[in-house]
């Protein structure tokens, strides 16, 4: 804009020339100046952050990489006295325990079944997550409908000549993934139904939903797992045995469904009533209105909350340890007990590895949710 005369550019008149921005505001230097050193306070924060990074990163790199032992067969190779230098992470420990961390006590000769399940799951999940890949409907049916059955048959066995493997023998990453994926896949649809139920005009449906949600939110997950594992059998007839892992699975799924319901309800409340009215006026019934108009918008609003729940659930699965189901972290702790690998750095190495594994899964979910959010942000409001 000019100072004295305000000229309104019309299609006929000449526009002011397009200029390049001042050099000091662009490029790496401009960015640094604008974001890190604009004012004394930000400069102070920048220096403080740099100090923190310097405090944390070099020792971490030193422990995990520089001083780390990469090869070896026993604790001897990871003891500073024997090696004759400071010792960081003892990676041979992880390598030696790797199968245990992944498969638990699943029979050695049957590991291919677990591998096949993992591969199948990944092969179906990855194309489902990439928007460009076609046949989404078929893919979804395969992943949500067929895959669980196939995985169940493969992992449990007992049919088609497959050896039966008790869930008690399962463990490690296998259990973590089974519990997490089941929890995630079951809790979202169940949570949506509960959220709709809580906003329903039908008193019975609403009351049931409220009671269900408040009950499961009101008790800690540990209590749920304890109850499912140790108390439930007391109430059920002796002949009626439910598999231990299944009980934990149901507990985790219902528990997270209650949380999911409240997240989804938040999303539903963010959608203006006009959307309902617009849909109703077109003659759409309740389920079509919800499925086509309200939920797509509501779920989009609460993607961060939903993924937050998924991530929380993924990490909470480790609580099944309490009822003697040894998930990834459970197996890790069991591995610590092996005297063959007891060194000063075993514990740190193990937890560092666990941290990295959990981080990969959780960070992956987090990044993917950001991607989905951006993709769904169709220019609008109202």
């Amino acid at each position: 804009m000019t100072e004295e005369t305000v000229t309104i550019p019309t299609s006929g008149g000449a526009l002011a020339p397009t200029l390049r921005p001042p050099a000091a505001t662009v490029g790496a230097l401009g960015w640094v100046r604008a974001n890190l050193f604009n004012g004394w306070f930000n400069t102070l924060l920048t220096l403080l952050s740099l100090y923190l990074v310097w405090l944390i990163v070099p020792p971490l790199v030193k422990f995990l990489i520089v001083d780390a032992v990469w090869t070896g067969t026993s604790r001897e190779d990871c003891l500073a006295e024997k090696v004759g230098r400071p010792v960081g992470a003892c990676w041979p420990f992880v390598r030696a325990k790797f199968t245990q961390l992944v498969y638990g006590f699943y029979p050695w000769d049957q590991h291919w079944r677990v591998d096949l399940t993992f591969a199948l799951g990944a092969a179906l999940l990855v194309p489902l997550l990439i928007p460009r890949v076609p046949y989404k409907a078929l893919n979804a049916v395969l992943f949500f409908g067929v895959f669980p059955v196939v995985a169940f048959v493969l992992l449990v066995g007992g049919v088609f000549g497959l050896q039966h493997v008790e869930t008690r023998a399962w463990g490690g990453l296998l259990v973590t993934l089974v519990v997490a994926v089941t929890g995630i896949v079951v809790s979202l649809p169940l949570g949506i139904l509960l959220a709709l139920g809580r906003r329903s005009r039908l008193p019975i449906v609403r009351t049931f939903s409220v009671i269900f949600i408040e009950f499961w939110r009101g008790v800690p997950l540990i209590t749920v797992l304890f109850f499912a594992t140790y108390m439930l059998p007391l109430f059920l007839p002796n002949t009626w045995t439910i598999d231990g892992l299944l009980r934990a699975l149901v507990g985790v799924a219902l528990f997270s469904a209650a949380y999911m319901a409240e997240v989804v309800r938040g999303g539903l409340q963010a959608i203006p009533r006009g959307q309902n009215e617009g849909a109703m006026a077109l003659g759409l019934g309740y389920w079509k209105m919800m499925g086509l108009i309200v939920l797509p918008q509501a779920l989009k609003v609460v993607i961060p909350g939903i993924v937050n729940n998924f991530i929380g659930l993924f990490k909470d699965t480790t609580l099944v340890m309490i009822v003697s189901i040894f998930d990834f972290l459970g197996q890790l702790r069991a591995a610590f007990a092996d005297p063959n690998w007891s060194t000063p750095s075993t514990l740190f190495t193990g937890f560092a590895f666990a941290g990295i594994v959990y981080f990969i899964f959780c960070f992956g979910m987090s990044r993917y949710s950001l991607f989905v959010e951006r993709r769904l942000a169709t220019g609008y409001r109202r």
Binding site: G278, L282, G283, K300, R382
Partner: protein, 269 residues
């Protein structure tokens, strides 16, 4: 535009009832008999009697809070009436969900705030209900939608999202969306009230066009120019009652009730 000459109806005639209703079923599009509604203790609609004939165009005006919107929202059951009868195209509205859906399929509605679906493109907004409610094949629904988008003069916006359009364009999409269901009756709830002044005309022009094509219309609006131009009858409401209903010339030049005169003097400066 050329004046559309349609014989004015005598609004004071008693609403047909009983066997007579059967006989007039083909002529009467909407019939409200002794309709009452309360919000809690608040009496919003008091003894509404109104019969709208096919191809008739009714403009409803009145001060805010007079129950105009509530009344037309009773016609497609966005609001429930608690007493009296509402019969739309021969179907009486009760708690029967089937009948409500039946009525809603045949009654299009245009809202003050458009209520377009922001997550769907303009074209998808227009094809959604035909596909899911009328079970129209996708291809046919799209052709149908393009036909109506062309009629409201925005076929080139079909693949944009509502948020990328101006208010006037959005409202025209909303009109097209309703028309795609091939409705017998169109309800307009203050369709121009949320628009910037320069966009009011494009929406009104679309509505005038629709009127000329013979659509049965009930329009809540304060656009008195529109009322003069296309209405067969103007209905004035106040305090939840129909105070006066008359053909536009009489209504504007010779209002009978004091309340109507006061209202007109306030809006026609």
């Amino acid at each position: 535009m050329a004046d559309v000459i349609v014989p004015a109806n005598d609004a004071t005639a008693p609403a047909p009832t009983g066997e007579k209703m059967q006989a007039t079923r083909n002529k009467v599009a909407v019939e409200m008999v002794g309709v009452h509604k309360w919000y809690g203790d608040f009496h919003v609609l008091r003894d509404i009697n109104l019969a709208v004939e096919r191809r008739e165009r009714i403009v409803i005006c009145g001060p805010s809070g007079s129950g105009k919107s509530t009344m037309i929202r009773c016609i497609n059951r966005l609001e429930e009436h608690q007493q009296g009868r509402v019969v739309v195209d021969g179907v009486e509205l009760t708690n029967d969900l089937k009948k409500i859906d039946e009525v809603r399929r045949d009654v299009g509605m245009v809202f003050q705030h458009f209520n377009l679906f922001p997550h769907l493109t303009v074209l998808e907004n227009c094809t959604l209900a035909p596909i899911w409610v009328r079970k129209m094949p996708k291809k046919a629904a799209e052709e149908n939608a393009m036909h109506y988008l062309a009629r409201v003069k925005i076929p080139e916006q079909a693949n944009k999202y509502p948020g990328q359009l101006s208010g006037g364009q959005q409202q025209r999409v909303a009109i097209a969306r309703a028309l795609c269901m091939n409705p017998k009756i169109m309800l307009f709830d203050e369709p121009t009230s949320a628009l910037d002044p320069e966009m009011v005309k494009e929406v009104l022009d679309t509505m005038v066009q629709l009127a000329m094509d013979g659509m049965t219309m009930m329009v809540v609006t304060h656009e008195m120019g529109f009322a003069r131009q296309v209405a067969n009858r103007v209905v004035f409401m106040d305090m939840g009652q129909i105070v006066e209903a008359n053909e536009p010339n009489e209504f504007f030049s010779n209002p009978r009730h004091e309340r109507t005169k006061l209202f007109l003097s306030q809006i026609l400066h």
